[in-house]
Symmetry: C2
Subunit: 158 residues, 2 copies
């Protein structure tokens, strides 16, 4: 699990409050995290098409689509890559008792069981959206906090 | 996902065929993998109580219990630790708009959603045992291969 997942998810949540691009440094300040490391997470989100960045004096990051269209899986895969966490190296085809390649057309039981578990994990992550997380903040801390995020992000820094 | 999970699971599968302890070097040779790195995985399995090691000339590793009592989750946790892959650092309590600690008695929506996904993953891993994997080898490659593993592991090396 990439360490930046938590930061990236929090950024997506607060970016829903801003109609203007938000500089990476401002997001780092709001969350009190390393600006340089957060910049890497935001660049990964941009490469995955979840945020776009604009250059210049009023530049920064903005979500590319509505928060109901961005799932936790989108964000996790943006940072970790879409590939499986468990990578099968076909150990059964190695060593003195190697199973012939022709008999290994389908994944072995280990690879299938690990893939099944990952599918369950991905399915759960895909079932929650950034909009769900925003609703959760509203429900647990009141809507004022989301409004405050928006006001703070839109205010000049310094 | 620790890289040794695949190796450790294969070791558990073939250890079901041996009534005698199997030296780590023999397991490494069977799977054509690094003996030193595999030794680390076996030591982790031993620390978790899944295998026990005996010293001496006929020493080696043996499963501590029946393969129907060892799940994939047992093996994954032996290598990765039982802790969550996603660690919440309570970002909501940081920065200029920090939520007061008193209002953070329950995990935030992000932490809960990530935990839900991990629970789904762990549940799936817990649903498959080493015995299931052995049956899968039998079903896909015939019972002769498991017998051959046992014969090879029991034969003197060299």
């Amino acid at each position: 699990m990439p360490g930046g997942v938590e930061w990236a998810l929090h950024c997506c949540v607060v970016l829903t409050t801003s109609s203007e691009p938000v500089p990476a440094a401002r997001l780092a300040e709001l969350h009190d995290v390393s600006a340089s490391y957060l910049a890497k997470q935001l660049q990964a989100l941009a490469r995955a098409g979840l945020v776009h960045s604009t250059q210049g004096k009023s530049g920064g990051y903005a979500l590319t689509r509505g928060p109901e269209s961005i799932t936790l899986l989108d964000v996790v895969e943006a940072l970790a890559g879409p590939g499986p966490a468990f990578v099968c190296t076909e150990i059964r085809q190695r060593g003195p008792l190697a199973t012939p390649a022709a008999a290994c057309a389908t994944p072995c039981g280990i690879a299938r069981a690990m893939a099944t578990a990952e599918t369950a994990w991905r399915r759960a992550l895909a079932a929650t959206t950034i909009a769900d997380l925003v609703r959760d903040v509203d429900a647990n801390h009141g809507p004022d906090i989301m409004t405050a995020y928006g006001t703070w992000l839109g205010a000049p820094s310094g």
